[in-house]
């Protein structure tokens, strides 16, 4: 098992290098000069100095190698637009907020979504099942910007007097509620539908019939036999979902005015701030890759058949 884990971890390195390469190439393709803040072109001599300082005069693959070396040292370079800031500073300032939001949305999605799916499956084809899935489908289809906007509309404007939930900014726990719900509804429906499917499938399995034939109490059958088997896919889905949450929170951050990485990203791209864009994209990729890695390893641990295959 350990050998598998090591192999898997080692494999992420070329993946990461490739991701950096692709991002790098894309950035190079974006026309424009990051140093040009006004309409006037930058004087040639200053341009030359800047180019030399940031290695922009070297061939692209050299720049790439420089970049990889620096990244390995966790030095993502200075921001090309914000003269006095390093990319690392930008990240330190904005990233934790996004991570926090993503984690909370994830917890919301799991805590609400999984029980919803389980109950819907157990009460298959009854009114409870249909309502639960109706809610899930609605949450899945409505675009998050609509959900966020509606939440703000109702809570901030209509019900302002009853609930003190702020709709802007990121100070204090009460301001976390609405954005978490807005971001968490979509993954919640994903988990609900996924778990409902796996529970239904598990209930059809022969070994559940065996468990019933043994006279085990139904509650035990569900808790032990059914859940153990049906939650494995949900756990393995959690990784990519978390990755998606952290990297896809742009919309919610924009609407709720949350100072996370999303808001910053678009400005950086349009402003041709290469290093910031690179740094953020690489970081986001790392998160996705790590999330997938953890889940992959976890899956092997949870399912004894895979566990044996891997040893």
């Amino acid at each position: 098992m350990l050998a598998f884990i090591i192999r898997r971890i080692v494999w992420t390195i070329p993946v990461l290098l490739l991701v950096i390469l692709m991002t790098f190439l894309m950035m190079k393709l974006i026309k424009g000069n990051p140093f040009q803040v006004t309409e006037r072109p930058v004087p040639a001599s200053i341009q030359r100095n800047l180019d030399r300082k940031f290695h922009l005069d070297k061939p692209w693959w050299v720049q790439y190698l420089y970049y990889v070396r620096d990244t390995a040292r966790l030095d993502l370079g200075p921001s090309l637009v914000q003269r006095n800031q390093d990319v690392n500073d930008v990240i330190k300032e904005h990233f934790p907020t996004s991570i926090k939001l993503g984690l909370m949305a994830m917890i919301f999605a799991i805590v609400v979504g999984i029980p919803l799916g389980v109950f819907a499956a157990l009460k298959h084809n009854t009114a409870l099942d249909y309502t639960a899935m109706g809610i899930a489908n609605l949450g899945f289809a409505l675009p998050s910007f609509l959900v966020a906007t509606l939440l703000i509309y109702f809570f901030a404007l209509r019900l302002k007097d009853y609930t003190g939930l702020p709709t802007n900014g990121w100070e204090g726990p009460s301001s976390w509620v609405l954005p978490t719900i807005a971001l968490g509804i979509y993954p919640m429906t994903y988990f609900a539908r996924l778990v409902r499917g796996t529970v239904l499938e598990t209930l059809q399995q022969d070994y559940i019939r065996t468990a019933k034939a043994k006279g085990l109490r139904w509650r035990l059958v569900v808790g032990k036999h059914v859940l153990r088997n049906s939650l494995i896919p949900a756990v393995t889905a959690a990784g990519p979902v978390l990755g998606g949450l952290i990297t896809g929170s742009f919309i919610v951050e924009t609407i709720f005015g949350i100072p996370g990485i999303g808001k910053y990203y678009v400005t950086a791209v349009t402003g041709r701030d290469y290093s910031v864009v690179m740094g953020i994209t690489v970081l986001l990729s790392v998160i996705i890759i790590v999330a997938n890695l953890v889940v992959d390893i976890l899956y092997g641990y949870l399912d004894p058949r895979i566990r044996d295959e891997r040893t």
């Binding site: 974006i30 899945f140 678009v266 791209v269 864009v277």
Partner: protein, 332 residues
């Protein structure tokens, strides 16, 4: 060869497992009677089922599924809405008339008007045309790229497959929205084609992976080996036997990817990277509406509901298609 005289042979002593002896006699009778009755009874009793075609069968199964039929109707209604409404109206959708700005839904303007006084019913329908166009174009492109990539990997196998799949794994590491945003930035402007390309580049991975899996497993089937045995060449096998059998999966995927790209376009528009005005898509309409949500929520609600409508109907159609083409799934 003379028939052994069964009638005079004594049934020998045997254990219950020696079932044959006493019955050889009966077997002869049985067979004789069978031969005689074969014409009359055999025909009706042994009549085989009428041959059914795969697609006809699937179509019937699909029709039986209430949810899918409702979804299909809803989808077609939406399509009809975006196609016919602008066609049937005489109003100029781009006419700016500030005196009419921000009217709530009424008989004159069923969807109300926006900040520029433009009728939203027509704008929504037109926006739908753009969204659908982008959606279909991007989905088509995703299918082409995904199928070519995945089928090549699955069919050729070996090192090529390995390399292609590893590369694909790496691409999965790129975050969706940022990737699309960067692609748009590379192009410099956002118009129909750049949007389609950006969405395609960010979304083709899953299709490729699924196609590769399909071709790979189908390749193992005996009928493929049989085809080669009678002299069929590679490309013919690929096309005639493998790809044809993946058509079902492809169709299901079309209905799964379509809402995805339309939603993606909506998100990008919302972030300010949408199609340039005055042309609008549902995404840009929603973004317009966002600025006025506090006082005129209908402007953002309406295009969002259109998107949701599309997502739900496409999803249930895909579900129904999946069940119709593979009836082994037990879930209701």
């Amino acid at each position: 060869m003379s028939e052994p005289d069964l009638a005079t042979t004594d049934p020998p002593r045997s254990s219950p497992r020696g079932l044959d002896r006493p019955f050889m006699q009966r077997r002869a009778e049985f067979e004789e009677a069978l031969a005689r009755n074969a014409g009359a009874r055999g025909a009706e009793a042994g009549a085989s089922l009428p041959r059914a075609s795969l697609w006809g069968d699937a179509f019937h199964r699909f029709m039986k599924n209430k949810a899918s039929v409702v979804a299909a109707i809803a989808f077609l209604l939406l399509l009809a809405f975006v196609i016919f409404v602008p066609w049937l109206s005489n109003e100029d959708p781009y006419a700016i008339d500030f005196s009419q700005a921000y009217q709530s839904p009424s008989w004159a303007h069923p969807f109300g008007t926006d900040g520029f006084g433009r009728d939203l019913l027509i704008r929504t329908a037109l926006g739908g045309r753009v969204s659908f166009a982008i959606g279909f174009a991007a989905t088509f492109a995703i299918m082409v790229v995904g199928i070519v990539y995945g089928a090549t990997a699955g069919f050729v196998g070996g090192h090529v497959d390995n390399a292609l799949m590893r590369f694909l794994d790496a691409l999965y590491g790129l975050p969706y929205l940022p990737f699309a945003i960067m692609t748009l930035a590379v192009f410099g402007t956002v118009n129909f084609w750049t949007m389609v390309v950006a969405l395609t580049i960010a979304s083709w991975f899953t299709t490729a992976r699924v196609m590769r899996g399909q071709i790979f497993t189908l390749k193992q089937n005996d009928y493929v080996r049989a085809a080669y045995a009678v002299g069929a060449k590679g490309p013919r096998v690929l096309y005639r036997h493998l790809l044809v059998n993946t058509l079902g999966v492809i169709i299901v995927f079309v209905f799964l990817e379509l809402p995805g790209v339309i939603l993606g376009e909506a998100f990008l528009s919302f972030l300010g990277l949408g199609i340039n005005p005055p042309k609008a898509s549902w995404g840009t309409l929603a973004q317009d509406g966002y600025t006025a949500y506090a006082t005129h929520p209908y402007i953002i609600v309406i295009p969002s509901i259109c998107i949701a409508w599309l997502i739900l109907s496409a999803f249930f159609i895909a579900d129904g298609l999946r069940d119709a083409l593979d009836p082994r799934t037990k879930e209701t």
